[in-house]
Amino acid sequence: MTNPTEMNNAAIAVNRFGLGARPEDTAPSDPKKWLLGQINQYQAKPASLANQPITVNLIKEYAEQQQEMRKMDDAEKKDTKRTFRREIKDTYQEAVSARAEAALATSTPFTERLVHFWSNHFAVSIEKPAIADLAGAFEFEAIRPNILGNFKDLLFAVERHPAMLMYLDQAKSIGPNSKAGSRSAEKQPDKKRGLNENLAREVMELHTLGVRSGYTQTDVTEFARALTGWSIAGMGKDKGVNVEVNGFVFRPMLHEPGTRNIMGKNYSQTGSTQAEAILTDLANSQATATHLATKLARHFVADSPPASLVDKLTKAYMASNGDLTTVYRALIEAPESWISTPAKFKTPWEWLVSSLRGLGKQNLDNIKVGQILNQLGQQTWRPGSPAGFDDIAATWAGPNALLRRVELAQRLVAPLGDKLDARVLAEKILLGAISPQTKAAISRSESASTGLALLLVSPEFLRR
């Protein structure tokens, strides 16, 4: 990067911490106050999401469909399966569109960005068809209501949500010495049923402590034992279980009995409270604080964030016992967050959302965001791994990826013709952070739409 154009504080607030300026927006006169004010105005359920299906209904439908199929012959089953798949695909595409519309319409873009951040931190992936059905509901019901509270509440909501329990195979994990495990061992000694350590490992490695923070394979296996019984309502025989919020159930029959020892501490609780106690300790750990602080600072400020900033956020987390709003405040108050050179290369999602906002789109009309993001290499809720999408430039600033943005910019601006003047728009949405070269390139372009396309792929607009 040679001399990236410097941003003033208003530009930083709107483009680094927000989702990009809209043509009708006025630049915030007090950028910090503008960001902090959004915490009180945040809507967990904005109008764009009002008609989205809720988890318990989706699970119920899914279970009913499975049951229906059991009665069918093979030909019928095949047809029905195809219909179900199509319905799931529609549910997914509509959820992606709703998410994007919420991002276009919001007047609290900073908190909206936090939703996207946490949704990626607690990534699920639609590679499994059932997850495609639930991914939207997971973000809307487990993430959205919990981004401004205590991290522990967010963690509990996420780890109990059916999408997570299904994605990381928890719903199938069985304590080998549980009632169900012993019975299955007697009945079918060759068909072993037992532990699956996937969720336990990723909770420690990705959701809380972070990799290389001192836990061992034994800790992972012990945690997996403690988590047995965490399951989804309506997916099996539900005698004697209490269905809790969002379709979570605890199945005592599956739970591995006994005291667990994790990182030197004994957990002698019985039932669901055992894993809850462990999760609570994980949430309160210093390693978790550092891990989350690093990820937040990396997301908002720089691929390799300043150590002093990470330290401030870690301290804010520990001092407030994991109160997320306190951490966000520390982020906004820190001078390190306001360095004037843009250090972040926008992800495809960030770039697309800021482009649509920049072009003044209030709603999507016929724009198929789901497909576009697939073309740009970041299919929503499909990060390909439980680590979520990477949050560094090296992942997104690729040769072919850049060409895709150019191709797409051309397509996005095509219907606009000369309704917008790129020269005026550039000043507005970049809030003055525009180089003479970019200005010249835009004003020299052969048509109004070429000018707009150049603005969207300009170095200043690709970064934040």
Partner: protein, 389 residues
Amino acid sequence: METFNKNMINRRDFLKLLSAGAGLAFASPYISFASANTDRRFIFIIQRGAADGLNIVIPYGDPAYTKLRGALAIDVSQATKLDGLFALHPSLAETAKLYASKQALFVHAVASPYRSRSHFDGQNVLETGGTSAYQMKDGWMNRLLTLLPSSQNEAIAFATTVPMALRGKIEVASYAPSALPQASDDLLMRVEQLYADDTQLHSLWTAAMEANNMADDISAKQDPASFGKLAASFLAKADGPRVAMIETGGWDTHTGQDGRLARQLKSLDTMIAAIHDGLGPVWQKTTIIVATEFGRTAASNGTGGTDHGTGSVAMVLGGDVNGGRVIADWPGLSTSNLYEGRDLKPTTNLDTLIASITGAGFGIDPTRISKTLFPENNTNKAIEGLLRS
């Protein structure tokens, strides 16, 4: 120009020599490189997610195998027997043909230096060539490029962005089929001007345009056969890239492993066959390594799958691979022989395998190549005789 021997010197070098002045031309260092295997091709296929080596190249002759795997054990009557100990998963039918014609070999109980069980750290070690995660900032494939003559060091990632293994000092192209309408020539030209003063974007754009100009098959199909064909079309070109990386995902089979692994392997097999067919005579000079970040538990888990493990299998394929054999210092699968009591114990260093293959292929001294590719892990002796030529 036609009379010039392309094996000795290619057009781009020729132009460089001309500009350097004819008198200096034949004392130029470019010439000495030209004697190496300059038209060699190398492809690295990464299996992201920890592929289950024990069900890909199956140690059916190990008495512990069927006991550990239970219902997940592969029925060997359906598989291709490779020797008295190993059999190949039935989905790898085309790969089996390459094995039969001695153009494929498998290295079992292999692992990178990484010994924990995080996908992301494991892939970082596999791709950077360090011994611990995030220790090295560039990838071993990019460092391999630094050892090749400048005319032969073009590399491509068949993806929209450049994966870690290929990141580093040398500029690398990336290409993936796109379903978007192509941008107009006017826009492409203006974008080039727009990025003229921006180092990062300028270099990305140059690489994008180079790859774009080389793609003659602009089909947007992403199925394994089309993808393999596309990759081969780049690598078959005389002035095309010499080094390439292909990413595959979906190997993390904690549940429903039987069907999922069979589908994964079928795709891989189809892609390899398409690369083989598409390369034509160039296949003779091509080596492919297929490898994963680590293996999976020796025993099946309680949910019809396997959890994160350690040792796995690597495949080496190519026209002059000294194949038709499985290389393994087999540690055995009895409990006392398992790594930490649960995983296949690694007995061969994956880094050594990679250094040996690339060294033999490109004609680079084994010590030099392992020092460059794996600076933290190069004390092992190179494996001899992997290639016939």
